[in-house]
């Protein structure tokens, strides 16, 4: 006779670098229900965003997430620029694309490595992470820091990239692409990995839209939504086609991320090629006033900021909706029906970033 058991998955679990708990109700080995319990890393960043002044907030929002810090700062700065009516110089817009795409690449490398590790493919994990170190070296060389690079500022960027460093990036990208080719080939074609991802955690396009999925989770279900197509920074001039896969399973989400690595490689190359000369920042004048929303595409999906200001040095409201926050309900819908043993991989397939989610 079937017996229902409740198993807590997390908060400290080897496959999760961060604490989140899923309360799983099981019928024998099959998951019947999954309820997420969060709050282990809640800090209260939104309130702090009302206490610090709008310039200091750039450093605060960068530290919401250490994996995509530049893109958080980009989203915030673009919102403030809208409120203050600042026109960002073209060179700064292209530099923003370069750093954003490098961040996306390192984030996808990190995730592909963690996925390999979840299957017990330790050397594949090492390969992705060794390749990722090359990207980290690029950050260190161009921005002076590995993780939180702090180069985005209101009105532009804080640092320029010299012609020698641009050439260095292009040279490194050649090596990165070569290693990536080999590693991605394993991830997408290995029999074991396919057996554990194909048809697991399926999310249909209709479900994905209804549950508010974003990023690779949404695109893996065949819905071509990518905030970059809006054309912020220099994406409008560079042109971008969202990467989509139809199947909606863990494999499709993996494939979307793998293909996005190549998309980012291409974008960085084209941005360097077309990088215009000129200033890298303008000095913003006055103070932000009014209300606006700002949207950018993070490695994990669409990042959404709502900002309210009343013309004083501090913001009236800073609302941050991060991609994983939107991807938790789809996860809750994906898990019922799967085997207990598949829970870690399916959870990983939304690329959870808990520090983003809880802020």
């Amino acid at each position: 006779m079937a017996r229902r058991t409740t198993i807590p998955f997390g908060p400290q679990h080897p496959v999760l670098p961060e604490p989140i708990q899923l309360k799983l109700t099981l019928d024998n080995e099959t998951v019947v229900e999954a309820i997420p319990h969060i709050g282990y890393v809640h800090r209260g960043v939104e309130k702090a965003g009302e206490r610090m002044d709008f310039g200091q907030n750039v450093f605060l929002v960068e530290r919401i997430c250490g994996i995509c810090s530049f893109i958080h700062a980009l989203c915030y700065c673009q919102g403030i620029e809208k409120l203050m009516d600042v026109e960002v110089p073209p060179r700064a817009r292209y530099l923003r694309v370069i750093w954003s795409e490098l961040h996306r690449m390192q984030s996808h490398h990190l995730w592909l490595g963690l996925l390999a590790d979840a299957f017990g493919y330790e050397s594949l994990f090492m390969q992705f992470w060794r390749n990722r170190e090359r990207l980290m070296d690029i950050f260190e060389r161009t921005a002076g820091s590995r993780v939180i690079i702090s180069t985005c500022a209101i009105g532009g960027v804080r640092r320029d990239i010299s012609p020698e460093n641009l050439q260095y990036i292009l040279d490194e990208l050649v090596v990165i692409q070569k290693t990536l080719d080999d590693a991605v080939d394993v991830v997408l074609n290995d029999r074991t990995i396919r057996a554990r991802t194909v048809g697991k955690g399926v999310l249909t396009a209709k479900q994905a839209l209804e549950l508010g999925a974003v990023g690779p989770v949404l695109r893996g279900s065949g819905v071509a939504v990518d905030a970059r197509t809006e054309g912020f920074a220099a994406y409008g001039e560079l042109g971008i086609e969202p990467v989509t896969e139809e199947a909606g399973d863990s494999y499709a989400r993996t494939k979307v991320r793998a293909r996005e690595c190549y998309q980012s490689l291409d974008l960085v190359r084209r941005a360097i090629e077309r990088l215009p000369d000129g200033d890298i920042a303008v000095r913003p004048r006055g103070r932000p006033d009014g209300r606006t929303v700002s949207r950018v595409e993070q490695p994990r999906g669409e990042l959404f900021y709502f900002m309210g200001a009343d013309g004083s040095a501090r913001l009236d409201r800073l609302r941050i909706r991060t991609p994983t926050f939107a991807n938790v309900p789809p996860l809750v819908a994906m898990l019922p029906g799967c085997e207990m043993a598949d829970v870690p991989v399916i959870t990983l397939s939304i690329d959870p970033c808990i520090s983003c989610t809880e802020r």
């Binding site: 400290q12 604490p19 709050g39 282990y40 530290r63 990190l110």
Partner: protein, 157 residues
């Protein structure tokens, strides 16, 4: 020092817990395990089970909910053990020190042996911190330092 203590110092196993960090320090901790930094040359391995672990690496600011988990993990680790607090957040709360749901560092919750500053600290710094923690553990195993229950300040100076 007995043979067990010696063996432990040659191969200290690491447990990592994120107590509210931004992920920056966490990925640097994982980066230490990868080929470029390779902590395994010190015999260190990342392990998910606190009962097998010798060194606890903590990142993040701590809040009421994860402090309970952190205390549990620490209590489950066998003696001798050492704690390394990594990053500005784990030291003092860092940029989040004024946030409402932040206790401001690991120290008030469990005793800390080594502090690694930085936002985020570089992997080299984290490795040095872990190596210092091994020395601490050795001293503790040989009886030079009391077990870690009621001390949190002596080496800090």
């Amino acid at each position: 020092m007995g043979i067990l203590g010696k063996a432990r110092a040659k191969s200290p196993w690491i447990l990592h817990f994120d107590a509210g960090a931004c992920n920056g320090c966490d990925i640097e901790v994982i980066a230490c395990l990868t080929p470029v930094y390779d902590v395994e040359r010190f015999g260190m391995m990342n392990i998910g089970n606190p009962k097998h672990a010798d060194i606890l690496l903590v990142t993040g600011t701590c809040n009421l909910r994860n402090a309970r988990v952190l205390k549990n993990l620490y209590a489950q680790m066998p003696e001798p053990k050492a704690v390394v607090a990594i990053g500005a957040c784990a030291l003092s709360g860092g940029v989040f020190h004024e946030c409402y749901n932040v206790l401001g560092g690991v120290e008030g919750i469990i005793p800390v042996d080594v502090w690694v500053p930085g936002c985020a600290p570089k992997p080299e710094a984290i490795i040095e911190g872990a190596v210092m923690a091994v020395q601490r553990m050795q001293e503790r195993a040989s009886g030079k330092v009391q077990p870690s229950e009621d001390e949190s300040e002596d080496e800090h100076a």
